[in-house]
Amino acid sequence: MIEQHRVTEENNLVSEDIYRLRLFVTGATPNSSRAISNLKDICETYLKGRYELEIIDVYQQPLIVENEQIIALPVLIKKFPFPERRLIGDMSDLNKVLKGLSIAANT
């Protein structure tokens, strides 16, 4: 269950400005479902066209849990831009998600 949202559109963006996000979820648990929908909303609102989101079900790939140092789930790992950040939880706290993604709330 990997969804890729690659949007390279009108405003010719340099690849460095693209947010590379990976969301790790545990199947279809309530937390995971909420996290997916919340995150998608936030991305569409604040990062439209400049993000790349990968959603990974850890039940399908247990090895990745160790490699990515995952304990708490669901977790969003912001691989780019640096610094790498981890956002855990169902992404319901908008301010914290934005803070974690280093996005100012009004942009």
């Binding site: 909420r34 849990v65 140092q69 304990i71 969003l76 950040r85 939880g89 803070k99």
Partner: protein, 581 residues
């Protein structure tokens, strides 16, 4: 699985017991009577640097190497490479065990600064990781070290606590024997986050104390649901073989005793001890003031033991082995040959090297590996520098108990500081030992001599005499002291007295022979006198005889003459007579 564990146990229980998993850690399984509860989590808690990580890691490694039970070690504090490096010195090759798929090390990294909590979450990631690790190698043992680190990385206490509870239930369902470590908390809690609330089957407390600048590690089984366990504090030691716990006070007074005897190496001393020497498996205390030859006695004993092809272990707390060997050569006791023959082993350590308990554990370990027949501790009084008298006594009780159980004869030497012997009982050890030899200075007549006597010797006839104790270049000897009219004499006074006696003897013999001759002469005179009297008597008798013969002759002649006369007068005597009838 349960049967498998029972097989590995040293002790066989006759009554139903909760299944236990032996840790393989020296001594811990004795204290817990078989190990930690199988299939349940056990909590090991203690302050920083008390050995939690090492103990839990040893549990995993011993599980693999001794009981063929693969294990997972989940580290929250140290990276796996660091962990592997830290225990290489203990002979644990974690890399190899991982390659053999018997060990799985997993380092969990949590950094609060990288994490933003954006809502509800759970710790499913931890479960997946752990579950995958367990399943991939078929682990039976799991360690979580230290799971409390989660609390520093994540803030939502409600979630964490609920998830921990779930984790421990899950571990039980998995059927793995788990060790959870926890840092000791402030106040009355055993762990900072109150882990004991979740892990309630078995709690082991580790402690690291510094007393008089010497550190001692101790272990205590705080609780063990459904099982008997030792409740005391047990010292433990971390050395090149890992952890050793000494279950010292679990010993009972039920040991075997022997009636075999073992020579002290000093024939005269054996003679004092019912002509046979010490009891095998007994304990001997040699105490005395400085320079009275305690070490020499100990060396003689060691020498004799090795000559009998038995093994002797010599703990030296004062002198180095080389020093002892050199010094003993001067009294013709060659210890070097026994060292070469591996019959004699010296173990020299400064008492201040580590704490008393640590000494005990160290001794215990060496004794178990060397398996001696005789152990010598020279001198025990030096141990007082690192502990109080009562502590030393407690330690020696344990040591004696252990040695007697193993039927090892032990000799202690002790330095008495004052010369009033009965007042100082040498760290109170004297009541514990079977035989107490006392060597003391006797200052007399401007010189110092050594006297030895047996204060006590349980279960055998022994001499009550003070013997003079002489150290010559031929060895040690005991000489009967001289009991003269002026009391006990020793040393040169004894020799002088002996000489004096010899002179007296000569004089007396001389006097005697003079008197003999005198008597002889007197007798001769008397005999001469008797002879002359005899001859005088003879001549007197002869005279007397002559007179009576003469008288007889005269009488006869007179009669003859008278009858002749009667005949002449014709008278018939016979007729006259017949008429008369």
């Amino acid at each position: 699985m349960t049967n498998h564990h029972h097989k590995n146990k040293k002790t066989v229980f006759n009554y139903p017991q909760i299944p236990k998993t032996p840790t393989g850690i020296n001594g811990l399984d004795e204290i817990t009577e078989g190990g930690i509860p199988t299939g349940r989590p056990t909590l090991i808690c203690g302050g920083a640097g008390c050995g939690k990580t090492l103990m839990s890691l040893e549990f995993i490694v011993r599980g693999i190497t001794q009981f063929n039970e693969p294990g997972v070690f989940m580290a929250f504090e140290e990276k796996t490479a660091e962990l592997a490096m830290n225990v290489t010195s203990l002979g644990f090759d974690l890399v190899k065990l991982q390659e053999e798929k018997k060990l799985k090390l997993d380092y969990v990294h949590i950094d609060r600064s990288e994490i933003e909590e954006t809502g509800e979450y759970d710790l499913e990631g931890l479960f997946i990781r752990l579950g995958f690790a367990i399943d991939s190698i078929g682990a039976k043992r799991v360690v979580l070290d230290t799971i409390e680190s989660l609390f520093s990385g994540l803030t939502n206490q409600g979630i964490l606590r609920a998830e921990l509870r779930r984790l421990f239930t899950w571990l039980k369902e998995k059927g793995v024997t788990a060790i959870i470590t926890g840092e000791r908390g402030e106040g009355n809690t055993f762990t900072r986050q109150g882990l004991e609330e979740y892990v309630s089957d078995c709690v082991i407390l580790l402690d690291h104390r510094v007393i008089n600048q010497i550190s001692t590690r101790r272990l205590r089984v705080l609780k063990y649901r459904g099982s008997l366990h030792g409740t005391n504090e047990y010292p433990f030691l971390i050395d090149e073989d890992g952890i050793s716990v000494l279950p010292v006070t679990s010993l009972k007074l039920e040991k075997e005793v022997s009636t075999d005897r073992i020579s002290s190496g000093i024939p005269a001393l054996d003679k004092m001890l019912d002509k046979k020497g010490f009891f095998k498996g007994g304990s001997v205390l040699v105490s005395g003031t400085a320079g009275t030859g305690k070490t020499s006695i100990a060396a003689c004993f060691a020498n004799e033991t090795c000559k009998q092809q038995k093994r002797c272990l010599y703990f030296a707390f004062e002198e180095s082995p080389k020093q002892i060997i050199r010094n003993m050569k001067s009294i013709s006791v060659d210890l070097q040959q026994h060292v070469d023959d591996e019959l004699l082993m010296f173990h020299a350590s400064r008492p201040t090297l580590y704490g008393l308990e640590q000494h005990l554990v160290a001794m215990y370990k060496i004794i178990q590996s060397f398996k001696p027949d005789v152990v010598i501790l020279d001198p025990i009084t030096n141990l007082v520098t690192i502990g109080s008298v009562s502590e030393v006594k407690a330690m020696l009780i344990r040591l004696i108990d252990f040695l007697q159980e193993e039927q090892i004869t032990v000799m202690f030497t002790a330095l008495t500081l004052n010369s009033v012997v009965s007042e100082q009982t040498d760290e109170g050890v004297s009541s514990l030992v079977d035989t107490w030899l006392l060597v003391r200075d006797i200052e007399f007549n401007g010189e110092r001599n050594r006297g030895m006597y047996i204060m006590k010797s349980r279960g055998m006839k022994h001499s009550n005499q003070v013997r003079e104790f002489i150290i010559t270049d031929k060895g040690i000897d005991l000489v009967d002291v001289y009991l003269g009219p002026d009391g006990v004499l020793i040393g040169s006074a004894r020799e002088a007295q002996k000489l004096q006696e010899k002179t007296g003897e000569v004089l007396r013999t001389n006097a005697l022979s003079m008197k003999d001759r005198e008597i002889d002469r007197k007798r001769k005179v008397l005999q001469a006198k008797i002879a002359s009297l005899q001859s005088e008597f003879e001549s007197a008798e002869e005279e007397l005889n002559r007179i009576s013969i003469e008288e007889e002759l005269v009488k006869k002649i007179t009669e003859n003459n008278r009858s002749a006369l009667t005949k002449l007068r014709r008278g018939d005597v016979h007729n006259e007579n017949n008429n008369g009838i």
